[in-house]
């Protein structure tokens, strides 16, 4: 194993991460849900389908950031636009979506036009920490994006500055189960296959680190939600879909099937042992929220 490099620059992290997210959307369509939401669903009924669980999760996020018609959302790391388009279509929000991926941005832009919400959706291409953003936002979402950013304090400081008073942040991420697990597993081959080989660049932290980052930015942390059970269940569904579409995956991205399954299997084996999945709800308000998360 080569020595793990110290934190890359933003440019290096973007370049390495893009190698993963610039695989064609058709590849991800072989195992994700119809919206290509590459994050945990929420199984509110035992027999729920992957598509329904992802819809339930999008509503869950919308409720936590208090989505409302005309409210401005900043979606940092929008992926293939599942949350961006949902918030525009279902809640009438005005969304600014940021992605460093030159594959994802036109894909989301086209979908916005095709579904009649082009006037509500603005795509910004580039790393969040580098792109200029105008105005203030009522809501900010970072669904599985902060682990791809090496400069988290700087990122959250920028988020804070873009939030109106009482604006809400929903941030979700895969975490090490504890600081001890971080120390023991960060450089293990299984972890590095996921963070480096699959994602290009990703750095997992324990929840306590993310709490510290939110705290340092000056936000009130209104709640943390354990989504581990739901992400494990989500990945079971992804694996089932991938297995059924094995040939198609090999056609689209030759040689990627085994690595994908290995990544999904490793991820699911580790939940609760070395890793956890959390959602954090924060608010730009000194006193936090009146209602409890």
């Amino acid at each position: 194993m080569p020595e793990r490099q110290s934190s890359p620059t933003v440019e290096e992290a973007v370049q390495r991460t893009n190698q993963h997210y610039e695989l064609p959307p058709a590849y991800f369509a072989q195992f994700l849900d119809d919206r290509l939401k590459y994050s945990s669903g929420l199984y509110t009924r035992p027999d729920m389908s992957l598509n329904d669980a992802q819809t339930a999760k999008l509503h869950f996020i919308a409720e936590h950031v208090k989505a409302a018609p005309g409210a401005r959302l900043l979606d940092i790391g929008c992926g293939w636009g599942s949350l961006t388009l949902f918030m525009a279509r279902e809640y009438g929000c005005r969304v600014t979506a940021v992605t460093p991926s030159k594959e994802q941005a036109p894909y989301v832009r086209e979908l916005a036009a095709a579904t009649g919400v082009a006037d509500l959706v603005d795509l910004v291409i580039g790393p969040f920490s580098a792109v200029p953003l105008a105005g203030k936002f009522d809501m900010v979402t970072m669904v599985g994006s902060i682990n791809h950013m090496p400069n988290q304090d700087e990122v959250l400081a920028k988020v804070y500055a873009l939030m109106r008073p009482d604006a809400r942040l929903y941030l979700s991420e895969s975490c090490f189960r504890s600081a001890a697990a971080h120390k023991a597993f960060a450089d293990r081959p299984g972890t590095r296959q996921v963070t480096d080989d699959i994602f290009g660049f990703a750095e997992m932290h324990p929840l306590s680190t993310l709490v510290g980052v939110v705290e340092k930015a000056g936000l009130s942390l209104a709640g943390t939600i354990d989504l581990t059970w739901h992400f494990r269940r989500t990945i079971v569904d992804w694996m089932r879909r991938a297995e059924g579409n094995r040939e198609r995956i090999e056609e689209i991205a030759p040689g990627k099937y085994e690595a994908l399954m290995r990544y999904l299997e490793t991820t699911n084996a580790a939940w609760g042992y070395t890793t956890k999945q959390y959602g954090l709800v924060a608010v730009r308000n000194r006193l936090g929220l009146e209602e409890l998360c």
């Binding site: 299984g190 084996a269 580790a270």
Partner: protein, 90 residues
């Protein structure tokens, strides 16, 4: 629920361990020798062994200590780990 869960015996736990290992490593349960090093079983790696442990915890309704999870080197070692925990809770 199987009988061994209702009234756990060491043989019942052994059968469960064998089953969990076989399912996680995708090998025939009967092919796993009691003292064969787990890491040398066909298909074995830390991820699959962890899956077997998770399955065992679920089936037995126990949680092992983090430090002891990767300690057992053989099927019998895993049986002893599981049996001690079941016995403790009995």
């Amino acid at each position: 629920m199987s009988d061994e869960t209702a009234a756990p015996t060491k043989d019942g736990v052994r059968a469960l361990v064998r089953e969990a290992l076989a399912a996680a490593l995708r090998v025939d349960a009967a092919s796993i020798g009691p003292d064969e090093p787990l890491q040398e079983l066909p298909g074995a790696d830390s991820v699959r062994l962890l899956k077997a442990i998770a399955e065992l915890e679920r089936r037995l309704g126990v949680e092992f200590e983090d430090e002891e999870i990767f300690r057992p080197q053989t099927l019998e070692g895993l049986v002893n780990l599981a049996w001690n925990r079941v016995d403790e809770n009995a």
